[in-house]
C-alpha cells in the first residue's frame, strides 16, 4: 500500500516536471513573441526580415536582419563543412578501429574538449588563431567568419563524435557478421553496412552539433569582427544574430524600439533552433525504431 502511494507520487512528479518543461518553452516563446510584436507595431515586418541595413542607434533606426542572418548562416555552414567529416571520421575510428586503451583515452579527451569554456576559446582565437589566419591567407584582418567557423567546429565536435559513436556501436553485430560472411572486407563492411545503418543517429548528432553552433555567442562575438555587412566571403568580417543580441542588449533601455528589435532577433533564432532540434529529434527517433 505504502509502496503504491510513493510510486504514485514519484510518477506524478515526473509527469509534472515534463509538463513544466513544455510550459517553460511555451512561455519563452510567448514572451519573445509579445516583445517582438511591440516592435512590429512601429516597424514593418518586411523591412525587419528583408532590410539590408542594421543601424540600431541611428535616427531613424534601421533594423534589417539580412546581414545578421547571412552572417549566422555563413559561419554555421563553414563550421559544418569542417566539423562533420572530421567528427564522423573520428567516431568511426573510435567505434571500429581504435584499440581499447586508445578508445578510452580518446573518449575522455573528447569530454575535456566539451568542457572548455567558450570564452577561453574566444581568447585563443583573438590572440593566436586570428593573426595566424591573417598571415596565412593574406587577409586585411583575421577577425572574420572563418576564424569563427573553425572555433565553432571545434566546439561542435564533441557532440557529433559522441552521438555518432553511440550510433555506430549500436548497430547490431549480426549486420557486420553477415557482411563478413559474404566476403566483405572490414572497410567494405564499415562503409557499406555499418555507416548506413547508423546514419539516422549520425544525422541526429550532426543536427545537434549545428544547433550548438548556431546558438553559440561568446566565440563569434569575440572573433568575427561584428561588421554588419552583407557577407560575400567567409574570409570577411561579419556579424551574427547571437552576437548582435549579446553585444547590444546592454545599451538598450528596456521598452525602447531597439530593445524590442533584439527580442525579435531572438525570436528568429528561437524558430531556427526549434526547427533544427525538431529535425534532429525526428532522426533520433527513427534511429531507435
Amino acid at each position: 500500500m505504502r509502496r503504491k502511494i510513493s510510486e504514485y507520487i514519484i510518477e506524478s512528479l515526473i509527469k509534472l516536471s515534463g509538463f513544466v518543461v513544455i510550459i517553460f518553452v511555451f512561455l519563452i516563446f510567448l514572451f519573445l513573441l509579445r516583445d517582438s510584436l511591440s516592435l512590429f507595431r512601429v516597424y514593418k515586418v518586411g523591412e525587419f526580415l528583408f532590410g539590408r541595413n542594421w543601424l540600431p542607434i541611428s535616427e531613424p533606426p534601421k533594423f534589417g536582419i539580412v546581414p545578421l542572418l547571412l552572417g549566422s548562416i555563413y559561419v554555421t555552414v563553414g563550421a559544418i563543412v569542417i566539423c562533420v567529416p572530421v567528427g564522423v571520421a573520428a567516431a568511426m575510428f573510435i567505434a571500429e578501429a581504435a584499440p581499447t586503451f586508445l578508445k578510452h583515452i580518446l573518449k575522455s579527451l573528447i569530454e575535456i574538449l566539451a568542457a572548455i569554456p567558450s570564452v577561453v576559446l574566444g581568447f585563443i582565437g583573438i590572440i593566436w588563431l586570428s593573426p595566424f589566419l591573417k598571415n596565412t591567407f593574406h587577409l586585411n584582418t583575421g577577425m572574420c567568419g572563418f576564424t569563427g567557423s573553425l572555433l565553432l567546429a571545434f566546439m561542435a565536435l564533441p557532440t557529433i563524435i559522441s552521438i555518432s559513436e553511440d550510433a555506430l556501436v549500436g548497430v547490431p553485430r549480426a549486420y557486420k557478421e553477415a557482411a563478413f560472411g559474404l566476403g566483405a572486407t572490414r572497410w567494405q563492411a564499415l562503409w557499406r553496412i555499418v555507416l548506413p545503418a547508423a546514419s539516422p543517429g549520425i544525422i541526429a548528432g550532426v543536427m545537434l552539433g549545428i544547433g550548438r553552433v548556431i546558438g553559440e555567442t561568446m566565440v563569434v562575438m569575440m572573433v568575427t569582427g561584428n561588421s554588419p555587412v552583407i557577407p560575400t566571403s567567409i574570409l570577411q568580417p561579419l556579424r551574427t544574430l547571437t552576437a548582435t543580441i549579446a553585444g547590444e542588449m546592454g545599451e538598450t533601455v528596456s521598452g525602447s524600439e531597439h530593445y524590442f528589435a533584439l527580442f525579435a532577433v531572438g525570436l528568429v533564432l528561437f524558430i531556427i533552433t526549434f526547427i533544427i532540434n525538431f529535425l534532429a529529434d525526428s532522426f533520433l527517433r527513427r534511429a531507435r525504431v
Partner: protein, 294 residues
C-alpha cells in the same frame, strides 16, 4: 542525528549572517554600493573603490563594466547606485528615466582624451579630424591616400553600447554636426572591448582604432590629431588645455541627490584620494581643468 542535521541547516544562514556583520563600531557607515557602466572608466572606478574600502571597511563597493549604455540602463532599471559613463546622458534617456521616477544627477569625475591608435609599423603619425572622418565613414579605404603604405585600411570601433563609440560617432563620423547623418562604414569591425582593439592594432599593420587615453600603451602608436592645422598628441597636458580635439568628460550618475554611503563614495571620488586614482589610470583629474580655466 537527523534532528541535529536539520538544526545545523536551519542555523547555517543565521551563523553566516552573524559572520558578515561582525562588530561594527557605532557611527561607522555600513552598506553596499553597486557601480556599473563605462568600460573606459571601469579600471579607475575599481581603484577608487579599493581605496574607498580601505577608509570605510564596512562599505562594500562592487564595480562592473559593460559600457556606458549598460550603466544608464541599470540606473533607469534601478539595479545600480552609481552609473559610470564616458558620455553625457541623452535627453531621450533622461526623459525615459523620469518616466520611471528616476532623476539622474550628473557628476563630472575626470576628463579623458580619445586616442586614435595605429600599428607601430604604420609610417603615418598624424591625421586631421577630416581625415579620420573619411577613414571611418569608408570614403578613404587605402593608407596610400594619406602617404602611407599601399594597404587596405581596417577600421576598428567599439560596440554600440560603448560611450566612446557614441562620442566618436558624433565628433568624428558626423564631424560634430547635429544634422549630419553619416554612419560608420559597415565594413568597420565592432569589437567588444578596448583590449580587443589594442590586440588587433598591435598585430595588424593596416588597422586603425580609437579608445580612452588610459588604454594607450607602447604596443601601439597614438596619432597626433588636428581640428584645423595644429596637431596635438593625446596626453594629459593637451587635454587639460582642451587643445587635443577629442577631449571629453567622464561622468558618474546617481538617482537624485545621493545620500548615505553613495554620497560618501561620490565625495571620496571627487576628493584628492579618488582623483589620484584617475591620474594613475591615465586620466585627467577635475582640479587640473579648473585650475587651468582660472
Amino acid at each position: 542525528m537527523k534532528i541535529g542535521l536539520k538544526l545545523t541547516l536551519l542555523l547555517l544562514p543565521i551563523l553566516f549572517a552573524a559572520g558578515c556583520s561582525e562588530d561594527v563600531p557605532p557611527g561607522e557607515p555600513v552598506g553596499f554600493i553597486q557601480v556599473k557602466g563605462s568600460d573606459t572608466v571601469v579600471n579607475a572606478a575599481q581603484k577608487v573603490a579599493e581605496e574607498f574600502m580601505k577608509d570605510y571597511p564596512h562599505v562594500f563597493v562592487a564595480v562592473t563594466g559593460g559600457g556606458s549604455g549598460v550603466g544608464i540602463a541599470s540606473l533607469i532599471n534601478k539595479t545600480c547606485d552609481v552609473a559610470t559613463c564616458s558620455r553625457e546622458m541623452k535627453p531621450k534617456e533622461i526623459e525615459m528615466a523620469e518616466k520611471r521616477s528616476v532623476f539622474p544627477k550628473e557628476f563630472t569625475v575626470a576628463h579623458d582624451g580619445v586616442a586614435v591608435i595605429v600599428n607601430k609599423d604604420n609610417p603615418i603619425d598624424k591625421l586631421t579630424i577630416e581625415d579620420l572622418h573619411r577613414i571611418f565613414t569608408g570614403k578613404a579605404t587605402n593608407w596610400k591616400e594619406f602617404g602611407g603604405k599601399d594597404l587596405h585600411i581596417v577600421t576598428l570601433s567599439r560596440e554600440v553600447s560603448s560611450g566612446t563609440h557614441m562620442y566618436f560617432k558624433e565628433e568624428v563620423v558626423r564631424l560634430g554636426k547635429k544634422d549630419n547623418r553619416d554612419e560608420f562604414s559597415p565594413q568597420t569591425l565592432l569589437l567588444t572591448s578596448s583590449q580587443a582593439i589594442v590586440e588587433e592594432v598591435a598585430g595588424n599593420e593596416a588597422a586603425i582604432g580609437y579608445l580612452g587615453m588610459g588604454y594607450v600603451s607602447d604596443r601601439t602608436k597614438a596619432l597626433l590629431v588636428a581640428k584645423a592645422d595644429q596637431f596635438y598628441s593625446p596626453d594629459v597636458d593637451n587635454v587639460i588645455k582642451k587643445a587635443y580635439p577629442l577631449s571629453r568628460g567622464l561622468y558618474f550618475y546617481t538617482n537624485g541627490e545621493p545620500n548615505g554611503v553613495t554620497k560618501l563614495f561620490i565625495d571620496f571620488t571627487l576628493g584628492p584620494k579618488g582623483q589620484q586614482q584617475f591620474i594613475e589610470t591615465g586620466f585627467v583629474p577635475m582640479g587640473a581643468t579648473v585650475a587651468q580655466k582660472d
